[in-house]
Subunit: 193 residues, 2 copies
Amino acid sequence: MSARETRDHIVEAADDLFYRQGYENTSFADIAGAVRISRGNFYYHFKTKDRILDAVIEARLAKTRAMLDRWEREGETAADRIRCFIRILIVNRASIERYGCPVGTLMTELTKLGHSAQTEATKLFILFRSWLTRQFEQLGCGGKADDLALHLLAMSQGVATLINAFQDEAFTEREVARMEAWLETRAQDATGG
Amino acid sequence: MSARETRDHIVEAADDLFYRQGYENTSFADIAGAVRISRGNFYYHFKTKDRILDAVIEARLAKTRAMLDRWEREGETAADRIRCFIRILIVNRASIERYGCPVGTLMTELTKLGHSAQTEATKLFILFRSWLTRQFEQLGCGGKADDLALHLLAMSQGVATLINAFQDEAFTEREVARMEAWLETRAQDATGG
DNA sequence: GTCTATAGACGGATAGAC
DNA sequence: GTCTATCCGTCTATAGAC
């Protein structure tokens, strides 16, 4: 197996484990075990745990960009595209119930650890924030676009936290419906009066 | 110092450290160091780390109950009391910026660890949820009271997560104002039409 | 024969538990 | 104060490709 392939496998496994168990609670042995390689081989590819985290965040940023690009292509109107964002709470409901939002929980953990990768992790939030801002601008919300983007991001984060705490499917659906209704109102505000 | 006092000091220090550093990232040595007692004395009061967590959650539940009781006494109307809840985001803004919401972040960490104290930690959420439900009932929101309570809880959690990620004071104030406006509308829905 | 990917032993540090 | 487990990180050995 090429070095590149092995490296990718490591990042993939680490990504998954960091999400499910948390960064600090995941050991080198855990990752090596998941990839089925020895710890010695492991250190050939990554010298420290921090470097794996860097690579994982980078991979998540790339995956997120790809997802946002896909939404951009698939959604006809800006409202459709924002709806794609809202609906990840339903699409990923099962994993959110068990592990929370991958972006929010990583961010939270890194701030508690006072970890230097905080800045990089924040970029995940910024990616969503600026994408949403652009959508709200296209919706015609002008100067309020960034405010609306942050508000939607906050709602999504809060709902994810409670999905994780309560595992209540009806709650999830109610909140998603509420966000979609809210979006509808914003769209009408922009076009009509 | 009495055994009871020492125990209380340990719980207090652990509570603070668990909040600021996270549960798993806090060692016995950290707590013992903060209380200025020997590790030997430490084990006299708590045999395992899990038991300290139990005691910390218990203490947080008691503190929360006391706070809710205080709001109950101080707020004249149900809307006033709900506003007390909303305003903790401003009152505790500094610590939320650095460490997030104490309830949400503990919950999140415990689910990732698959820790048995999850159920106990959820009671913190339930405490707020049922208190808020009662307030919305008194506001005249009848059958929708629990839905509104969960929604407000979610908004508060989401805003706390983004305060922690972005440390943006203007955002905090905008969102608090938004929540208060939302509350106003709910109150009018209930009384008027 | 050299370079690359892998394996596994070893050491220092620190954790929790008694 | 000690004991055991575990974790991160280093070091050396080796198997195969070119």
